[in-house]
Symmetry: C2
Subunit: 144 residues, 2 copies
């Protein structure tokens, strides 16, 4: 099933995401973006244009920057108002989530397979192995 | 304890994040950014400059775009090489995480309180109440 993607954010986060997706997967052109509040212009028409452009035999995914934030609320309200049920809204978007969904081999996106993708994209604290400890472990490995 | 922040990403995601943080909290100037792979220039010196600038009585937080990605690996390697233990690296960064950490009232960041912040920032599927269903619920509320 054909998919269409939009990311909407406060500021240039959305276009920044597009740039990253382009560098990592050459697919920046497939992600439409809304950088809201950069100018005073109302961004609602950009959301409705995306929704109107979405065909019944397609699936739409809208990534937003912040759950409960004004952009997220506006997007959710417009999707509900459109009456379309073939659109998913994913909040707290980050690069692994957007990339994971865009590259997902799933024929049809569902709440279930999207839940797996959001779980895999969870932010995390990176465990840094101290240089000294690594050396000690290497020596131990060499010994045994 | 004074904190310093850096975000490093493939492409313009990091500067996009800075723009969003500025719009939402007026703190874009407190987040240093590295937009890697936009030019051929090696971005390692920008990481080491951030680490060298960090004093022993400060804490540093480096946000990266993608766990296991090249930017994340480079950052982690440089932190380990620096020998500094007052730096946290957070991968799969998104807006609620960066904002949450920057606005956190915690006097000292720890692995524990950062774990709470990463959990709260988890990407999620937004449940969209269909317009019809909402109306029905409202009518029910009015009735009782």
């Amino acid at each position: 099933m054909q998919r269409k993607y939009l990311m909407a954010s406060h500021g240039h986060l959305a276009s920044g995401m597009q740039s990253s997706i382009n560098i990592l997967a050459g697919k920046g052109g497939e992600l439409k973006v809304i950088d809201a509040y950069v100018t005073d212009e109302d961004y609602t028409p950009q959301i409705t244009a995306f929704l109107e452009d979405l065909q019944d035999d397609e699936q739409g995914v809208i990534f937003t920057d912040f759950y409960g934030g004004s952009v997220n609320q506006k997007v959710a309200a417009e999707v509900v108002k459109s009456g379309k049920t073939n659109v998913f809204v994913l909040a707290n978007a980050n690069l692994p989530l957007v990339l994971g969904v865009m590259l997902s081999p799933e024929e049809v996106l569902t709440a279930d397979n999207l839940a797996s993708m959001t779980a895999e994209a969870a932010p995390q604290l990176v465990q840094l192995a101290p240089a000294k400890q690594e050396t000690a472990e290497e020596e131990l490995d060499d010994f045994f």
